[in-house]
């Protein structure tokens, strides 16, 4: 049921999102190209650390910092100011570990992230805070996290913590859209 409601929300938001106005092929192809750039993630379990590449996409983002003349809803295609000027983002990710943390090399996540602008409307520095549900190493821990973004919202450094099971995750993220 919850999945259906979420799916419906995403469809409605996608329809209304200004981010869907992909005016030309260059915009779409650039977006597609940058989706291949992965985040770098280190997952630290009590006994070992595993490195993973993580690909992140944004099915839904609500910007409370963008001007009042454009739609605050974005789906997948998110112009950087919409995110770093203040937003609430729902993102999903897929992970590929270089060493097996459990029975599989792969993982996934769903995350809810608040982006709070700190300097120059967030273009120079913004605060990230959120909650994430990960599916890794045969477990599904809930992480609480915080971090910073800089360089026009491109570079994010987030520290995530799951109390049970106790796992730390450090991620260096490259967000172009």
């Amino acid at each position: 049921m919850r999945l259906r409601i979420l799916s419906l929300l995403i469809v409605v938001a996608s329809w209304s999102a200004r981010g869907q106005n992909l005016e030309n092929a260059d915009k779409l192809s650039t977006w597609l190209y940058y989706q291949f750039v992965p985040n770098l993630t280190w997952t630290t379990f009590p006994s070992q650390t595993h490195f993973a590449f993580e690909w992140e996409a944004t099915p839904l983002l609500y910007s409370f910092g963008i001007n009042r003349y454009v739609s605050p809803w974005y789906a997948f295609f998110v112009e950087p100011p919409a995110r770093f000027s203040g937003s609430l983002e729902f993102s999903v990710s897929g992970m590929a570990y270089t060493t097996k943390p459990g029975s599989s090399y792969f993982g996934s996540s769903a995350q809810l992230i608040a982006h709070i602008p700190l300097i120059e409307r967030g273009e120079h520095l913004a605060l990230n805070a959120g909650i994430a549900k990960y599916f890794i190493a045969d477990t599904s821990p809930t992480f609480y996290f915080g971090g910073l973004s800089t360089l026009f919202g491109f570079l994010h450094l987030n520290l995530k913590y799951s109390p049970d099971p106790r796992i730390w995750m450090t991620s260096l993220e490259f967000r172009f859209f």
């Binding site: 910092g65 001007n67 950087p80 100011p81 203040g86 300097i119």
Partner: protein, 309 residues
Amino acid sequence: MNPLRMLFLAGSLFLTGCSSPVPRFFVRMFSQIGDSIEPVAHKVAEPILPDVGLSVLWVGHATVLIQIHDKVFITDPMFTNTSGMLAKRIVEPGISPSSLGRLDFTLISHIHLDHFSFGSLDMLPKNGKLILPFGGLDYSPEFGFSETRELKTWETLEEDGVKITAVPVRHFAGRYAFDTFWMRDRGFTGYVIDYKGRTVFIGGDTAYDPEFFKETGKRFHIDLALLPISPVEPRDFMQRFHVDPKEAVQIFEDLGARIMIPMHHRTFNQGFDPTPDHAQKFLEEISEQKGLRDRILVLRIGEQRILEN
């Protein structure tokens, strides 16, 4: 070099796609980040005048405070110490933003970091309107201006007797490098302000075009043209996006304007001009050669000139 500087350097190279001469330019900017900023002596404390026909105050870079009678305009406000995160000012702004009690119109010529400065816009009074080029709204946080509008080329905003028309210029508009691919035909403009018989052309940032400025000159009787004159070097690279002083004077002539005031020089280290006043000296030579010294007025940063009482 410390690790933080190395990280910034690597980021700069990455963001610019490592295409020469842009990385060299970023390296040059980075090396100047610790330099001190030259102060402006005798800043105008009250730049908005009680009664004036047409006055101009060059704040620095492309920031010009224009007053036509009771209406006050500012172009491309840039009051922060850096443009983006790296390019350091050479000279401080010619006025304090707190001295601006009101602004009727804030005009943004294009969305580059040195013309559409979020931090600078936050310093300004918000009673007036913010005008952006077409495509600019996607990049604009909510600053709290009474209204924010974007104008397409040849589109005119009319308000309380003021007409502001977006006019064509030749430039490009990607703000974050990767968006340059689809911002080739939007996100940049020039403007013509027309109020009570005074007409001002604002060039923003432009390369030369043999048609655009002649067409604008046909449509408007321009009293004052505010034109960029730098960066000049390296010419092969810059001429695609930026006029040099010789081309700026050609635009001035194409427009058929009465007076030209140069801007977009002296404030930041741009391109590879050998000295910050390289473009100004070049312009003064040309205006001398063409006998235009009385029509091309070179202002100091912070200087206010009353052109009509």
